[in-house]
């Protein structure tokens, strides 16, 4: 087992599995978020249910953090070796067919990590825009709906989220097809399908998640009883 985890191929498979699990979280998180469109009552109710299940919520958070930390640390060890493997670089480099997304995975990964920190400070810890964080709705629940709607009415905050989702979409467009290769599941017959699937799912995540700040900015989603 230790030989496996030390090897290049073994660590690549760890990247693939942790990446896939993180993608699974992104999907679930998006479905949860999209309940914003069902209205204040539905979203606040969902949020209340989540925090009322600490036995589910906390282990999920710990496991998720462990997966994320693994994904980051393994990628750092691989990337470090990759730099060492070519001490003298070409004076004239060229790229034949590697996609831009595949060549910028480390950079997009760092941006996504910084976004996660920002996102947690914003909606989980309430350190950014604290004025919207601790409000209660009419039924005495934490007003998650209000926090999001008031928060995203700020164009800079919305802009940061939309930008981060574009970077995530980019990262996924390579990662979602690459993981099949790393796990030995890609064949030339499957390759075009995997590529379309990866690009399609990345766009799905981008459109789904950015629909929230964009509909708030454009006034399609607003606080109940507030006109345009």
């Amino acid at each position: 087992m230790s030989n496996f985890l030390k090897s290049s191929v073994g660590r690549k498979s760890v990247m693939a599995v942790t990446g896939l699990l993180l993608f699974g979280f992104v999907i679930i998180h998006m479905i949860g978020n999209l309940q914003l469109f069902l209205g204040q009552d539905a979203l606040n109710d969902y949020a209340k249910h989540l925090v009322e299940m600490p036995l589910l919520l906390w282990p999920a958070r710990v496991v998720l953090l462990a997966i994320l930390v693994t994904h980051i640390f393994v990628s750092m060890s691989l990337a470090k070796e990759n730099r060492v493997a070519r001490p003298v670089r070409y004076t004239q480099g060229a790229t034949i067919q590697a996609s831009y997304a595949s060549r910028t995975m480390v950079m997009s990964g760092i941006i996504i990590f910084l976004f996660i920190v920002y996102h947690l400070l914003h909606f989980t810890f309430g350190k950014i825009q604290p004025q919207f964080y601790d409000q209660l709705d009419a039924e005495g629940r934490k007003d998650v709906y209000g926090m999001i709607v008031y928060g995203f009415q700020n164009i800079y905050v919305s802009g940061a989220y939309v930008t981060a989702m574009a970077v995530l979409c980019f990262h996924l467009s390579h990662g979602l097809q690459s993981l099949f290769q790393s796990l030995g599941l890609r064949s030339n017959a499957l390759a075009p399908l995997l590529k379309k699937m990866a690009v399609g799912l990345s766009l799905f995540i981008f459109i789904g998640n950015t629909s929230i700040p964009l509909s708030i900015l454009l006034g399609f989603v607003r606080m109940p009883g507030v006109g345009r």
């Binding site: 691989l78 070796e81 034949i96 030995g184 030339n188």
Partner: protein, 249 residues
Amino acid sequence: MNLKLRVWRQKDASKAGKIEEYEAKNINPHMSFLEMLDVVNEGLAQNGVEPIAFDSDCREGICGMCSLVINGIPHGPDRGTATCQLHMRKFKDGDTITIEPWRAKAFPVVKDLVTDRSAFDRIIQAGGFVSVNTGCAPEANAIPIGKHLADPAMDAAACIGCGACVAACKNASAMLFVAAKVSHLALLPQGQVEKAARVQKMVAAMDREQFGNCTNQFECEAACPKEISVSFISKMNQEYLKAFKGDIL
């Protein structure tokens, strides 16, 4: 044709190298790239300049000896072609051509454009073979092999071990070379017995040589003079995971 060459000159592994500029004059467009270098070297020798050192052997695209990164692309701009089979008509009169050696820690420069590729030999020694009892040659048709296995095995066996995959890889990874060797033997019935141990040993040998890690960008496949498919890398990853299945699960 008249060309300007920018060539990497390096006395030996311990000295620092640099790009030197040379003129290549009156080049016949039907010459191969290596013949063009021969002409340039003749001129250099006549003028008392040390000729440019580069590797070549068969000059018909099957030995894997020639190399050269030409304008950033191993074996030059022509797909599925080794440098020896690349013709000067692929370039335009007046072009500036940059020529560098394979760049990888595992392939140290011996001199100028010549690199030491014995890291590949050590990977093969680690497991790139089939153990057989010696004696008379076996009857050729004693082990029937279906076309669905023989064809991909032959595709993998087309690898000439030139190292262009490493040179092209953004991470100087040797995955395409190792995958071709692992897949070639793993597909054939003769390779089954040592299948699991082979992939483990060969990947371990590859990592020991300090090649980089695969990031699935497929530059290797595009640069390979034998157009070995990256699907063999997937095949090797699968073989590797299978070999460790008992340990992982």
